[in-house]
């Protein structure tokens, strides 16, 4: 089963994933029309700034067992096993925020949702774009990410790739491969600037 995998070291912080996620969870589905909808659709993935202001796409990990699910007394949170997705039933949610307190990643937000009950504030989080997946599409955030910071793949294959990558970096003859020197330079500069700022 394919899952969204985050490669934070590649994120350029363009926030495209946020726009695409919000548009995918809007009534009209297109960015330009979505921004004038009411309530305004909001992203379920959030790009945060790291220690050196580098981008970091933060999204629900669909943990198993899921702390949010265990914290939800009314039982609004459940797992769709076919896609391994932790979902929230908006009709059952009582907006108690227990799930957010339990979530170690802070990915649950509370607002009225274009696709939820009208006027009701509910807990909202990443749903792995199951509506898109049912249409044969991959999650919107993965589709828009032009730098491969988000991928949609089999966990086993992804882990194998990661293992090989780490193994290569450990071998004696390792030549550090820099896939995006400009980006590394930018990050180096950002880091240096931050360090200068912090040391003053």
């Amino acid at each position: 089963m394919k899952q969204v995998i985050v490669h934070p070291e590649r994120c350029v912080g363009c926030m495209q994933c946020m726009l695409a996620c919000a548009a995918a969870h809007s009534k009209t589905g297109a960015l330009i029309s979505a921004i004038s909808e009411s309530p305004r659709p909001k992203p379920r993935i959030h790009v945060g700034a790291g220690l050196y202001d580098e981008g970091f796409p933060n999204r629900c990990r669909h943990c198993n067992p899921a702390p949010c699910q265990m914290a939800c007394l009314p039982g609004a949170i459940y797992r769709q096993t076919t896609t391994n997705t932790v979902l929230i039933n908006p009709d059952v949610c009582i907006n108690c925020a227990s799930c957010a307190m339990a979530c170690p990643y802070g990915v649950i937000r509370y607002h009225a949702d274009p696709l939820g009950p009208a006027g009701k504030t509910i807990a909202v989080k990443c749903d792995n774009c199951i509506a898109r997946q049912h249409k044969g599409l991959i999650p919107a955030c993965v589709e828009v990410c032009k730098v491969g910071a988000l991928t949609f793949e089999e966990m086993d294959a992804a882990m194998k790739k990661k293992t090989d990558q780490v193994a290569r970096s450990m071998s004696a003859e390792a030549i550090a491969a820099d896939h995006a020197p400009g980006f590394s330079l930018l990050n180096t500069i950002k880091r240096a600037q931050k360090e200068i700022n912090l040391s003053r």
Binding site: M15, Q16, L19, A20, A23, L31, P41, K42
Partner: protein, 625 residues
Amino acid sequence: MTHHHNYTITKDGQLLIKKMESDQVETVWDRHAAQQPQCGFCDLGLSCRICAMGPCRVDPFGEGPQQGVCGADADIIVARNLCRMIAAGAAAHSDHGRDLVEVLAEVAENKAPGYAITDTEKLNRVAAEYGIAADGKTPEQVAGELAHAMQEDFGTRKKELALVTRAPEKRQQLWRKLNIMPRGIDRETSEAMHRTHMGVDNGWQSLLLHGLRNALSDGWGGSMIATEVSDILFGTPKPAPTKVNAGVLKADQVNVVVHGHNPVVSEMVMAACQDPEMTKLAEEKGAKGINLCGLCCTGNELLMRHGIPMAGNHLMTELIIATGAIEMMIVDYQCIMPALSKVAACYHTKMISTSDKARFPGMEHVEFHPDNARKKAYDVVKAAIENFANRGETYIPVEPLDAVGGFSVEAVVGALGGTPEPLLDAIKAGKIRGAAGIVGCNNPKIKHDYGHVTLTKRLIENDILVVDTGCAAVATAKAGFKVADAISHAGPGLKEVCGSLGIPPVLHFGSCVDNVRILVLAAALANALGTDISDLPLAGAAPEWYSEKAVSIGAYVVASGIYTVLGPMPPIAGSMNVVELLTKGLGEVVGATFAVEPDPEKAAVLIRGHIENQRRKLGLDATEV
């Protein structure tokens, strides 16, 4: 999976895309696909790269930042970005005009061998508008004084540009009242860059108003000078037959293609190609002659004045190289995709860049200046002939189509018997409902030529006379709308009028800078009626625009009082305030607005509706649309 039918409506385009696919050469559509999805912030106009506290972006969903580091909100950021697009477009057109004035000045000093004053009558007429008397002077003396006076238009020494007096009196007063009368061509662009610097003009309305003034400095300044001086130097266009599409290339001749915008280069290349010495050389190398063809606007310039055939418009510029039949492509500036040399490297085509301000990777640079252009032209044409020996297999996919170009205002008024009255009479009688100027580029976001051709077809069916320029003009020529017989596509009234004059229902008005010919004609019609341009049953459209120049054109057309429908959405949707001002509010300010409608069928309905409305307001018969 191939999609070449989805990319273009043209047969030559489809066949050449297919060939490039099998040759495994990338096209603009491949690169466009690889860019998808494009950045939403930039698309909405919500990213700002103006200063180094940034780059900044405003979250259109209201969740993230709502202002840049400096505090600029969505309205300010969008307005600044748009203003800068206008400034870039106006700068491009006006710098092109400046190059022509420079040639005029050097012709006056006898320092530009090969160039001459071709239309002395026009020289004297334009000089008179600048207050320069011609009597007792040689054309060179007049040219020298005119060049000097025009150079002053570029600076800041005047309160108003010279040629704005061509606009109706009411329009000029409105511009003065709004404080958007253009003062100096360079001044307005410079001021646009100043105002959009961090911490200067943060009134999004005042920014946009200055954008209009900057655009007017292009339309009634830089572009108008470019057209007038080109006419003086190279001749005022008269209707002449030509051929269009990829079929204009000849399998047995040396094919030389000029691409870009500046006739200063292409006119000299033409002279070299037509020299019998060169033809002889070509024959010695086994070719049956030299075939000069055009692309984009430098092609339009040559087509309008000399009937040089036209190989294609913007999105055809890469494809045409894949014919394998082009010995040399000579480029100057604007709209030349840096990808061209990569494509050319897959075939035998030699690429030559010619302008001191435009370099391209992988092209040989042969710099043309007024004093050496003639010699350089011979050098490159010789090299093209030499390259004929390197030709491999060629693939010229279609037969060329006939077209007529060369409709300057002078030619149109001439065809009407010396005054615009007969055209006005036909409009008053309702045989012609009104006129539309269809202009602008191609954009891979819109199926190639579909917007231009569909809109034109619907308008002429509705008895609306179409005048067009630039890539739009090439598109309709390739669709067969630019021959006298094309009146069969027109509605009964337009058919009758064009039929009796022996002209097509779609008139080729020239290159993109030649949009000013449309302004001059509109002003003449308004003056003949004693009214303002905004009262006339006119409309503008740019169904497939892509360039910053097109943004400037759209802005000066609207500021001149002509309702304009755009195909692609400009990057302004991040500020609904800006969108509303441009599509509604401007009506109360300058008497015209923009509309955005990517579907040309619907755009045609908008234009017909607008024209009927204008007729009603003028007290002419009007139908409900």
